[in-house]
């Protein structure tokens, strides 16, 4: 039987299709609005990739910020459950996970059975999240993917002191208007984000090995700065880090449907 998981985040929709725990397809679709349509579309993309029709999927679970808006899901689950399940499957040795997503930062410790033992999340503010970085990249009028690689060469990161997204954006615009190097500005933004992610992570134990997942895990300068800030090195998960929660949802769909 075939199972699916869909993670509808604030920046992108992710879908994973599996059979007997093996991945048939993984798809990620960034979106600006209409999350429900994004969920439908990303699942269609995944099904096409796996060569499936709708009827082939026996059970589907959704997760993420927009989990209630996934129209085809049989049920929804919290992200912690999905992330921990997927990470345990991918690498049971991992003891600490940082999920740096579009609007949330989560950090948690896991034991050898894959159970979450301690956790922390960002609370009232989305500073330091993927959405924050996206807005800053827009202010710099350059694609975030390009900035994230090019800014690695910056030798002089300009500090961004504002935590508030609106004030930080105007700080960035001020730097741009002063003719500062955009890569230096972005390097400063990355340091600010890394500091925020590290602050949430320090609330739990930094038990090794440590993995980073979520959209920011695809951003090399942020990953480097988080590693520096926390004095750690991340281990690689053998899957697109944005799709980990969707994969966990698919695994749980298979397990729960089977039982």
């Amino acid at each position: 039987m075939i199972y699916a998981g869909c993670d509808l985040g604030t920046i992108s929709a992710k879908a994973v299709i599996i059979r007997n725990g093996n991945i048939l397809a993984v798809e990620t679709l960034p979106y600006k609005n209409l999350p429900k349509q994004a969920a439908i579309q990303v699942m269609e993309m995944a099904k096409n990739k796996a060569g499936l029709t709708k009827e082939n999927i026996s059970y589907c679970l959704s997760t993420g910020f927009g989990k209630k808006a996934v129209p085809f899901a049989d049920k929804d689950l919290p992200e912690f459950l999905c992330l921990s399940r997927a990470i345990h499957k991918l690498d049971p040795e991992i003891r600490t996970v940082i999920d740096a997503g579009g609007s949330t930062i989560k950090a948690f410790n896991m034991d050898s059975s894959g159970k979450v033992t301690t956790s922390a999340t960002n609370e009232k503010c989305a500073a330091g999240t993927g959405k924050f970085m996206e807005v800053m990249a827009q202010a710099l009028e350059m694609p975030i993917e390009e900035l994230s690689i090019a800014a690695l060469e910056s030798g002089h990161a300009l500090p961004i002191t504002s935590q508030c997204g609106v004030f930080a954006e105007s700080e960035v615009i001020t730097h741009v208007n002063e003719g500062k190097d955009r890569l230096d500005i972005f390097a400063g933004i990355s340091l600010s984000v890394a500091g925020k992610v590290a602050a949430v992570t320090r609330r739990i134990s930094l038990d090794q090995p440590i993995a980073i997942v979520g959209g920011l895990a695809k951003n090399p300068i942020v990953v480097r700065d988080i590693e520096k800030e926390l004095g750690i090195s991340f281990v690689e998960c053998n899957l697109d880090p944005r799709a980990i929660a969707a994969y966990g949802a698919a695994l749980l769909a298979e397990e729960r449907h089977a039982s």
């Binding site: 910020f65 919290p78 912690f80 921990s84 989560k106 979450v116 609330r203």
Partner: protein, 423 residues
């Protein structure tokens, strides 16, 4: 500038009374119980609003470290200010926003505790009557330190500040009790024109003792699994007590609650909702979403033992055998029943939380990090480390319990759901 208690009257007429009728009409035991609890509150608020236009009456605005009995001994109508914002937060959020903005327009910083900002805003908007007086306590709370001098000017009514002890022990309580006798009583004699009558005070304390004993019984039943009443109703006796202790109406309300709880236990009618987790919620809950606790209970099977402010009784009834014991007991109750306890050292907050955690056999903790409260946010790190060390699952929720614009109910629900998925 509005009329005194104008917004309060609106809440009574447009929300509380219709809600009361609605709850009474429902064929649901819990809703009927809620209606009975609400009856006393509506009556108390109506007494207060009527008193605003009666020059013969005095309205006692009090906060921190006091309970209503002494004000009833002087025939005043007490209003526990700590409970005032919640009345609006749960019913008319636009009034909360209006008062907060009124306070900020006057220059009060937006990061001062929203309870204090709300009260200053209410005072500036004319919500409190001119026949009121204000009694509060100086303690280690930034919000009150900043807000109350402004409040004093805005109200333009007689004001007294008592000194709260910094430690929670017998000598401190006795010292505080002496202060009540030597400062608060002369103040009350002056503003009311009445002499203090010890026997009248004793009668009122005895009345409140009956309510307190019943409340202790009720809270004892919360150690059972499943509990006899749903989470949303459990704090009701405590809320009645802090607002109205000493008035026969409060005793009657708690007596009714007590009788119903005991009937359910006797007849084996527990709360029908399955309980997977039992959580002690330290500090205040977000009052802007009255459906949060029912949601937790129904969707997550999480039962909440409330510790709103410090809302679980831990003392014995007040010893009325002598004037000295009576004032000592009254002082203890004031320090315990209101938010005062939250402002002692972190060790005491932790000790108190763990006492309740064990007493009610909880398996997890939620701790509010109210954005304007330096005391409770400052204790967060110490508590977080303690719970981690003890292996107690703990969720620290940053929120403003009055203002839903800081962290939305949806965001909170998401964090709560995520947390319980891990335990």
């Amino acid at each position: 500038m509005g009329k005194p208690f104008e917004k309060t009257t609106q809440v009574i007429n447009e929300f509380a009374k219709p809600a009361l009728e609605f709850l009474r009409a429902l064929d649901d035991e819990d809703m009927k119980l809620q209606a009975k609890s609400l009856e006393g509150t509506v009556e108390r608020l109506e007494d207060l609003t009527e008193a605003a236009s009666n020059p013969e009456k005095r309205v006692a605005l009090f906060e921190w470290g006091l309970t209503p009995q002494l004000f009833y001994a002087f025939d005043c109508l007490p209003l526990a200010m700590e409970t005032f914002p919640y009345l609006f937060s749960a019913t008319q959020k636009q009034v909360v926003h209006e008062f907060l903005e009124a306070a900020e327009s006057s220059g009060l910083p937006s990061d001062v505790c929203s309870t204090d900002r709300f009260l200053v805003g209410a005072a500036l908007s004319g919500e409190f009557p001119k026949n009121a007086f204000f009694v509060s306590c100086a303690g280690p709370c930034d919000g009150t330190r900043i807000a109350y001098p402004i409040m004093q000017k805005a109200l333009g009514v007689p004001t007294l500040f008592l000194e709260l002890p910094f430690t929670y022990e017998r000598e401190s309580a006795r010292w505080y009790g002496r202060q009540i006798r030597t400062e608060l009583i002369p103040f009350l004699e002056e503003v009311t024109g009445k002499k203090f009558d010890l026997e009248r005070f004793r009668e009122i304390i005895e009345e409140s003792n009956r309510a307190y004993e019943l409340m202790l019984d009720v809270y004892d039943t919360y150690t059972t699994t499943p509990m006899p009443v749903p989470s949303s109703l459990r704090g009701s006796p405590w809320m009645v007590f802090i607002s109205d202790a000493g008035h026969p109406r409060a005793t009657k309300s708690i007596q009714m609650f007590h009788a119903e709880v005991m009937r359910r236990l006797k007849e084996g009618i527990p709360n029908p909702i399955e309980e997977k987790h039992r959580v002690i919620w330290g500090h205040v809950q977000p009052y802007f979403d009255p459906l949060l606790l029912p949601w937790m209970e129904q969707e997550l099977k999480v039962s909440v033992i409330t510790s709103m402010l410090t809302g679980s009784p831990i003392l014995r009834p007040i010893d009325t055998s002598s004037e000295e014991t009576m004032f000592e007991g009254y002082a203890w109750q004031g320090l315990d029943m209101t938010m005062s306890l939250m402002r002692f050292d972190s060790r005491k907050i932790l000790e108190y939380t763990m006492k309740l955690y064990n007493q009610y056999r909880c398996d997890s903790v939620i701790f509010t990090q109210h954005v304007g409260c330096n005391s409770i946010c400052g204790a967060g790190g110490i508590m977080r480390r303690y719970f981690q060390k003890e292996g107690i699952p703990a969720l620290f929720l940053e929120l403003d319990y009055v203002d839903d614009r800081i962290v939305s109910a949806e965001n909170l629900k998401n964090q709560i759901e995520e947390f319980f998925s891990t335990i």
